[in-house]
Symmetry: C2
Subunit: 321 residues, 2 copies
């Protein structure tokens, strides 16, 4: 299979596939930070480098493309690929503006496929939580809370530019927002939030933290908070958590494990089956083989949800979905 | 000293004082659930029982009164006591309606003293967090999140009556709201929230969970969530947590301890000095000897804040304070 990569940021989970078998790969710049893209290409020892994504698409003719551009411009790169009828796996956000989202909606017709990387769905503790809810082990979902906390370390200057960065709701909180829908099986129907930048004033338009609350289907409530304040002395880069209080049990993902408290006590729980590694799961979705976890309609719906969450927080207003 | 008690609910922290020395105590009903009050009186082996709070005030003539009525009616009992010029220590909420709050405001003039029981201020892990912030160990507060989660067990039927119960924002989330102001040293200036009742429909007007987000002074953000969903199999009755991410450190109260992560790693931290037990601290405030932790102005301001939080959640709207 021929796999094309675009951009120098994000995760490019399809690079995991390159180890799996006999694939051809090429890498292209995103026109916003080609140095970063070139560095990724070089680190993988790939020789097929293109300065320009269009050249790569036209000359390399990939079967699938994996995008990780400067975050605010994923949507532009995705559109270039979809216009050529090639399936896309992209870093989030797939749309950082309503205009990008509209363009993607127009392009996603017929069997076009746009898959968003939300790897929590493929991680064992979040899968364990999802499976426990599905098996009725917490009863009805009532209150879901999720945390994202990262070390900031050094970040590119464009994090301070809303157009390039997209916002912390799209880049960080998005994982938690998607994870809540995934684990609870309930969609957000109404949201508000806020954000701010207290500690990183040199990144002028970035939020160093943001929060979201919302109503989920069935009368449940969700809370998400994200921050870049994890100290350098912390043991790990990220501190991802999710807690779901249900009518008969409380489950919690923390420190890479999932625990469940119910009437019989506290136990560590595991997924019903070992998750397929994220790169393979994303590829299977992009090829239309398995869209149970990742899919085109879900990509667009989540993109719209995230833009609504960002707008709600920007304006500190309640937004109906 | 003569200590009068009113009501059969809440905590009556001044009962701790009875062990300290030679005090006289009397107990009175709150006219809403006298059986519960009488049971408390009997459990303490007190013989001075009054069916009616006014009789107790007029005949026993207490030096200080400690109130724990059916929650929605604390404010009425407080007013009765303040009208007689006697200092009050009360369970929260001290006002469950704007009318109660207005009445208290009119009565709190001169050296009248109304102290609200917010015992987190006297608990070592929350004190440790407060002291760490004051010592600059987390830098500027950025994102404060707090959780209250209780077992529901069996509760009186009046929990299902908003007028009697007051709401989960006032009864449960209030601890977390006060703790955030206490630990961060920053006041709420703008809030919204929501709540719902998914799992306890037999308590018709009660929220089985509620959430609040708000802006704190200095651009920081606060998140509070409270629920009655802690399973009976949990190790402890409550699961109180507070996390504060600051510009240089993150502190967290959980499982009865406070930890701090900063540039040098993760450590358990302790208060600068052992807190005075809550009953003695509340009494000292009521007598005007030490209002550093608990005070009349703070009681009224927090009561107004809590009513605003409840209104914001009831209406799902942003409320400016």
């Amino acid at each position: 299979m021929k796999i094309g990569f675009i951009g120098g940021h994000g995760h490019h989970y399809l690079t995991e596939i390159l180890r799996d078998g006999d694939h051809d790969a090429a890498w292209a710049g995103d026109a916003h930070d080609n140095d970063a893209a070139r560095a990724k290409c070089d680190r993988l020892g790939l020789t097929a480098w293109y300065d320009d994504a269009r050249s790569m698409l036209e000359r390399f003719r990939p079967d699938v493309v994996n995008i990780g551009a400067v975050y605010g411009y994923n949507g532009d790169a995705i559109a270039e690929v979809l216009e050529r009828g090639i399936p896309v796996v992209s870093d989030k956000p797939v749309a950082a503006t309503e205009a990008q989202l509209e363009r993607l909606r127009r392009l996603v017709t017929g069997d076009a496929r746009l898959i968003t990387e939300f790897p929590f769905r493929s991680r064992p503790p979040f899968r364990a939580a999802h499976d426990a809810v599905l098996a009725g082990r917490v009863g009805d979902p009532v209150l879901a809370t999720a945390q994202k906390s990262y070390r900031f370390n050094a970040r590119p200057a464009w994090f301070g530019d809303r157009a390039a960065y997209g916002g912390t709701m799209l880049w960080v909180a998005s994982h938690a927002i998607d994870a809540i829908e995934y684990v609870t099986g309930r969609r957000f129907i109404r949201v508000t939030g806020r954000g701010g930048n207290v500690a990183k004033p040199e990144y002028a338009e970035m939020e160093d933290h943001c929060v979201l609350i919302g109503e989920l289907e069935g009368g449940a409530t969700a809370v998400v908070h994200a921050d870049y304040l994890r100290p350098s002395g912390a043991e790990t880069h990220g501190d991802d958590r999710l807690r779901l209080a249900g009518s008969t049990g409380v489950l919690e993902v923390r420190d890479g494990a999932c625990s469940l408290i119910d009437i019989s006590g506290n136990s560590v729980i595991h997924p019903a089956a070992t998750p397929v590694p994220v790169g393979r799961a994303l590829l299977a979705a992009a090829l239309g083989h398995d869209t149970s976890l990742y899919g085109t309609e879900r990509s667009l719906r989540t993109a719209a949800l995230l833009l609504a969450c960002r707008r709600a927080a920007d304006d500190e207003t309640w937004v109906q979905l």
